[in-house]
């Protein structure tokens, strides 16, 4: 049986008249088992086989190897299919639907992917719909896909793509990868976020096989098919936001469904043995000094049962030694969320030719990355800007920044570093 814990990090002391309560809730799962332990698992591997995948040839060669590496990790009994993304999607293996993995089917699938050839356009929404049709023909309840592309979605309209993503949202999770410099980070991030998956850049095709292997291993290690985050806030309170802040930033606020007038629920997908941090902000009515109240219950729900709960409290005090303390976890993740935002906004401004805004935003990013000790972000920023002074956020845009470095900065902007708050 999986075990769940929820730990709350906050300063519950509010000064007189204050209304906003912030907390970081760390949810940890252990003993979750393996994918498919409950209800069976299914995997789809979707490989972009548009014409551009052959230029250079290294991309399609790497994609064949990566697909084979992922296939090799699929556990016996797991339903799976490999789908080629051409103008429309075509099954690679099996010829239709899905098969259950065993030595024979894995070998047959590996053999089939070795013959993948570039020959079509990019219509990601179509590919996702084809994967959904294959998933629907299995009894498996835990469904996950890996999607590889090297280009923008050009074979269908943006509205069409959006409708198709919406149609499969909640049906399966999808980790998305882009290879090369010709795909659109924001577009793929939108798909991955909606489908509760990760997004990343594979700058060097040679790294693709290891990445695919790791993604499939992670997927196979998720023994809890579907968990939901539930947040209770008291009557009259306003839930300002609910945000996953580690391992990546993901604003969940708009994905809420109402369970009761006081309880909202957010999808979190499948869980392995792992830890995720959530930032919850609630606005409550101010109470007199000395009063306390519960500001939020943050719960994880699996199969209709609440399996763990963290309590977020508010306690009004006139002791400024207590009320002025800033919780280090809340401060850290507030900074990391802003860091992700200013990186994305700065790069978007740069792409639009608005150099003043880009310089300002990326300067702010350099300052935040330094302040929050996010060394990885600092290193990636340095490839796009010259940091004159991180303390003041003074930077100059690099004239010779490569598209791949900008994309690497963009895709990794939502990855956060963790703090363990000192007590």
């Amino acid at each position: 049986m999986p075990t769940w814990t929820a730990e709350v990090f906050q300063n519950e002391y509010l000064p007189d008249g204050a209304t906003d309560v912030h907390a970081i809730v760390t949810v940890t799962s252990a003993g979750t088992g393996h994918a498919g332990d409950v209800g069976g698992a299914a995997e789809a591997i979707i490989i972009d086989c548009s014409g551009s995948m052959g230029a250079p040839q290294a991309k399609i060669v790497a994609a064949r190897k990566a697909a084979a590496a992922a296939i090799n990790e699929i556990a016996d009994g797991t339903w799976f299919a490999v789908i080629a993304g051409v103008g429309l999607a075509e099954p690679v293996y099996p010829p239709s639907g899905m098969v259950q993995a065993d030595q024979g089917t894995r070998a047959a699938a590996s053999e089939a992917v070795s013959r993948l050839t570039p020959r079509g356009g990019t219509a990601i929404g179509q590919w996702l719909m084809t994967a959904q049709e294959a998933f629907a023909r299995t009894p498996a309840t835990q469904r996950h896909a890996i999607l590889l592309t090297d280009g923008k979605n050009e074979g269908e309209s943006a509205a069409q793509l959006q409708a198709e993503v919406q149609a499969v949202t909640g049906e399966f999770q999808c980790d998305c990868r882009g290879v090369g410099a010709d795909w659109d980070v924001a577009e793929l991030r939108g798909i991955a976020t909606a489908l509760l998956g990760s997004v990343d850049l594979i700058a060097d095709p040679a790294d693709m096989a290891a990445d695919f292997q790791a993604m499939m291993q992670t997927a196979m290690g998720r023994g809890v098919a579907d968990a939901k985050l539930r947040v209770w806030a008291p009557q009259g309170a306003e839930l300002l936001f609910v945000r996953q802040v580690a391992p990546t930033i993901d604003d969940l606020t708009d994905r809420r469904t109402n369970v009761t007038p006081l309880i909202t629920e957010y999808p979190t997908g499948a869980w392995g043995d792992e830890s995720r941090d959530y930032h919850v902000a609630v606005r409550v009515a101010a109470k007199p000094v000395g009063a306390e109240q519960l500001a939020a219950r943050v719960q994880i729900e699996v199969g209709g049962e609440v399996v763990t709960q963290g309590l977020v409290k508010a306690l009004w005090s006139d002791d400024s030694a207590l009320t002025t303390r800033i919780n280090p976890a809340v401060a850290h993740y507030t900074g990391q969320a802003e860091l992700a935002q200013v990186i994305q906004e700065g790069l978007a401004a740069k792409a639009d030719g608005d150099e003043d805004t880009a310089t300002f935003k990326l300067g702010r990013a350099a300052k935040l990355a330094a302040e929050t000790g996010n060394e990885e972000a600092t290193q990636r920023l340095k490839k796009v800007v010259d940091i004159t002074d991180a303390d003041t956020g003074t930077v100059r845009l690099k004239r010779d920044a490569s598209k791949l470095d900008e994309m690497a900065l963009d895709t990794s902007s939502t990855k956060t570093t963790r703090v363990r708050p000192s007590s």
Binding site: T5, E7, F9, W232, P234, Q235, G236, A237, L262, V284, V289, G290, A291, E292, Q293, L294, A295, R297, Q309, L311, L315, A321, L322, S423
Partner: protein
């Protein structure tokens, strides 16, 4: 603590077992009636004819929030408005004999009472225990009650020494140190594994065995000997930052008013650095009062002589006197939880 129905671990303030859903709050009214005074919400009014008081209802009603009437969740907080459910300790009083009494009160500022007392008396033997839950830690009210009860139970069950004052002093010093350890163990058991701010509590206990009075403490709750004649004594020496300052020569008033005056250097609980209780002994030569109290009282009247003068103005009955001292502390602002336990001591011939 464990659920009486399924045996799974439960928190002492849980209204329901998390595992099986069994209601757990049946004991609250019992606790609240022990002193027979100012008891809210004891089911007496509004009872229907067909539901006699002595009969157990088939199902305990879901606890209702005192603030909004909503249901109280298994976590002890209202599921509608978020108010914390009462722990049943807003005001408790107890008088087990004509010479011994205890009162604890939430005070006027804190949202709940995290102080706890536990007392026991038989003949000329009395034990008074007070534990003050540390407000900045989680569920300290649970820890303080468990600690006080554990110490009292150990003392009440301890063998009684002979009549020699030195034998009594040695014996009760040892027993009180053991009681502090038992109290710590009980407090630690209330902590959950993942708690980054585990419950903690102060500890003070005094045993009067005839004329011999022995006190033991960890933290800044206090024991005083207030004789009718002769100098009054503070038996305990706070384990606190203020004490360290006083020992270094800072005047008491100044040290106790400092910003860190209430920072304690010893406490009970899982994160405690040191639980070795200090002890001291006095011999009663005239009648007087043994007072064991939390800082909710002594904050407003620290010196032993001032306390004696204050107590002397109050009624002679121990319960009425303890209530009056609590009222007085509330009138001074009631900034903290207030616990007063008193025993009238008459020296042996």
């Amino acid at each position: 603590m464990r659920c009486p129905q399924c045996g799974e671990p439960i928190g002492a303030s849980d209204a329901f077992c998390e595992n099986c859903g069994a209601p757990l709050q049946a004991s609250v009214p019992d606790r609240a009636t022990s002193g027979g005074l100012t008891l809210p919400n004891v089911a007496q009014s509004g009872e229907e004819q067909f539901a006699p008081l002595h009969e157990e209802p088939d199902e305990l009603p879901v606890p209702k929030c005192a603030s909004c009437g909503g249901e109280v969740g298994g976590d002890g907080w209202c599921t509608v408005c978020g108010a914390r459910a009462s722990n049943g300790r807003e005001h408790l009083a107890e008088q087990p004999s004509p010479t011994v009494a205890a009162v604890t009160d939430k005070g006027r500022v804190h949202p709940r009472n995290e102080d706890a007392y536990a007392i026991s008396t038989a003949g000329t033997w009395t034990a008074l225990v007070v534990c003050d839950g540390v407000t900045t830690a989680t569920d300290s009210d649970v820890a303080s009650l468990a600690a006080a009860n554990a110490a009292r139970d150990l003392l009440a069950a301890a063998p009684r020494p002979g009549r020699s004052p030195s034998a009594r002093e040695t014996h009760w010093s040892e027993q009180l140190k053991a009681a502090a350890l038992a109290a710590d163990e009980a407090a630690e058991k209330t902590a959950s594994k993942s708690d980054d701010n585990p419950p903690s509590s102060t500890f003070v206990a005094a045993v009067a065995d005839g004329s011999v009075i022995v006190a033991a403490w960890v933290g800044d709750s206090r024991a005083y000997w207030l004789p009718d004649a002769g100098p009054a004594e503070q038996l305990s020496v706070d384990d606190s930052w203020a004490s360290v300052q006083i020992a270094a020569g800072v005047p008491r008033e100044e040290a106790e008013a400092g910003p860190k005056a209430h920072a304690i250097t010893k406490w009970l609980g899982i994160d405690s650095p040191d639980i070795d209780a200090s002890t001291s002994t006095t011999i009663a030569t005239t009648p007087g009062w043994l007072l064991v109290c939390s800082d909710g009282l002594w904050n407003y009247c620290s010196s032993a002589d001032d306390l004696r003068a204050l107590a002397a103005k109050q009624p002679a009955d121990p319960l009425a006197r303890a209530e009056a001292l609590v009222d007085w502390a509330n009138e001074q602002g009631g900034h903290d939880n207030i616990t007063v336990t008193l025993a009238r001591i008459t020296p042996e011939e």
